[in-house]
């Protein structure tokens, strides 16, 4: 599996560390339903079979966080972008 890092080019997956689902948004801790929202955010996952948006950290390269779109049934990578946008 090679991940197309926008900064470094296509690199072997062993250079990267995996964090997981990139569709989650940290809830507002001051919201009245914060306890429920944090339970969902920390523990529950869609865990799709198919296209999955996920965080990878290029620890053995440019040390940037990437948002990668990958098919979990085939490991085919559709694309990768820098997490903070291009700078």
């Amino acid at each position: 599996m090679r991940i197309p890092c926008p900064y470094c080019g296509a690199r072997d997956a062993s250079e990267f560390a995996y964090l997981g689902d990139a569709t989650l948004t940290r809830p507002d801790p001051a919201a009245p339903d914060a306890a429920d929202a944090f339970h969902d955010y920390v523990y529950l996952r869609d865990n799709p079979a198919g296209a999955h948006s996920e965080w990878w950290y290029h620890s053995g390269g440019c040390r940037r966080w990437l948002k990668v779109t990958r098919d979990t049934t085939s490991h085919a990578i559709a694309g990768a972008e820098l997490a903070g946008g291009a700078k």
């Binding site: 599996m1 072997d12 997956a13 062993s14 995996y18 997981g20 689902d21 339970h39 969902d40 920390v42 523990y43 529950l44 996952r45 869609d46 865990n47 799709p48 079979a49 999955h52 996920e54 990958r70 979990t72 049934t73 085939s74 490991h75």
Partner: protein, 416 residues
């Protein structure tokens, strides 16, 4: 037909013509008392114990492929009860006790072999942690034995004791641990359940659930609708996909775990050995192949195959443990889909949907749990209350904070 020496002798003398299929290939009936989704070891064990312990005979096990074609056919066959936490250890020890009587209960040779498991330690801190774990095991009625370096050397003189980075200091042995024949476990449970009237329906994929209000009252399948008073899910890596059809989101990610078997050798590893300075475990099958594995790949996957970095990592760990395997050739490698829960421990519980029950989250340790998982899930399905050894495996423990995190890495399934 009961398998015995007499039946073996009789069929041996009559051209092996008297054997019958070990279970019926049943067609689904319109309704059952209980439907178990998933014809792996856990699902079939659940059906068997429902029928044998709770007297519920009107049961179907429905399986999308053929029975045992998922993780039950893809694991490294290790059985053990060497856990630390009070929520886990009594359950796994109950499983170990069921393994010890399994072949008599099923009248089937599951090749349960208590050849012992040895976890190596490589530092003082790790020795202390293993001493603590060994004591926890004993408190739960299991056996454990803390060995020093010479004790390990007496068992396995060929290990790399003087490895420059990870010298072996000793190990925690559980002599009642060992291996079992994974396919035979599936076949044994299938045959025993079938004899008690359980319908095993293969090539029958769940495509949806039948609801009445909030309650689940059956399943839609590729072979038509089947109604049931209760539906139990035991679908391992597919848990999220199936539960989604009931509107549930689970605390779970699916990950790929690879396993390996080498070409056949003469007997060389007579127990199960695990490396303590990396994730690596090895045993030898009765055919002679070394069966081993390591970490999960570490990213969400439903692919049933992994990638090369983990293969390299497993091979490096194996070489650090026992350099003599360096010239071995691999015969096969494969991947299975693990239902990695958020704390690394399983879930056997009711769900928010009445009539729907969940058995899931076995991570990469489901095989050893097969008998107790079936026992506890059957108890839950029959009585609506958790079995005494499985009270901690609640679905809502992530909300209430009662996590069972053996490894202490938090809600990061790829690290468990």
């Amino acid at each position: 037909m009961r398998y015995s020496f007499l039946s073996l002798l009789k069929n041996g003398l009559t051209g092996q013509a008297g054997w019958k299929p070990a279970w019926r290939d049943a067609a689904p009936k319109p309704a059952y008392d209980v439907i178990i989704v998933g014809g792996g070891g856990h699902g079939l064990a659940t059906a068997f114990y429902l029928a044998s312990e709770h007297g519920i005979r009107n049961i179907a096990v429905i399986e999308k492929g053929h029975i045992g074609s998922g993780n039950a056919g893809r694991n490294t066959t290790i059985i053990r009860s060497n856990y630390l936490l009070p929520g886990n250890e009594p359950f796994y020890e109950w499983s170990m006790k069921l393994w010890e009587g399994l072949e008599q209960a099923l009248n089937y040779n599951a090749m349960v072999s208590q050849r012992g498991i040895l976890n190596l330690y490589h530092s003082d801190a790790q020795r202390d942690a293993y001493a603590r774990r060994g004591n926890a095991m004993r408190l739960a009625g299991a056996d454990s034995e803390l060995l020093d370096r010479e004790g390990v050397r007496a068992m396995y003189p060929f290990l790399d004791f003087d490895n420059a980075r990870f010298p072996i200091q000793g190990g925690l042995a559980q002599r009642r641990g060992g291996t079992a024949r994974h396919d035979a476990v599936v076949w044994g449970y299938a045959r025993a359940a079938d004899q008690l009237g359980v319908d095993i329906v293969q090539n029958c994929e769940v495509t949806g659930f039948i609801s009445e209000g909030d309650a689940i009252v059956g399943v839609e399948t590729s072979r038509g609708a089947i109604r049931a008073k209760k539906v139990g899910l035991a679908v391992a890596g597919s848990s999220s996909r199936v539960a989604k059809q009931a509107g549930l989101r689970l605390p779970m990610e699916s990950h790929v775990l690879q396993a390996f078997v080498s070409e056949g050798l003469k007997p060389v590893v007579d127990g199960v050995i695990t490396f303590g300075a990396g994730h690596f475990y090895i045993s030898q099958s009765d055919k002679g192949g070394l069966v081993f594995g390591g970490d999960i790949d570490g990213y969400n996957s439903y692919a049933q195959r992994g990638n090369l970095p983990v293969v390299e990592d497993v091979a490096e760990s194996g070489m650090a443990l026992m350099p003599r395997i360096g010239r071995l050739r691999l015969l096969r490698m494969w991947g299975g889909i693990m239902d990695m829960s958020m704390d690394g421990s399983p879930i056997i519980d009711r769900t928010p949907r009445p009539g729907l029950y969940l058995n899931s989250g076995w991570c990469y340790g489901g095989f050893k749990a097969t008998p107790a998982s079936g026992w506890c899930f059957a108890h839950l399905l029959a009585t609506d209350a958790p079995h005494a050894t499985g009270t901690a495996f609640k679905l809502d423990r992530f909300r209430t904070g009662h996590l069972i995190d053996e490894k202490g890495v938090g809600a990061q399934p790829n690290l468990h």
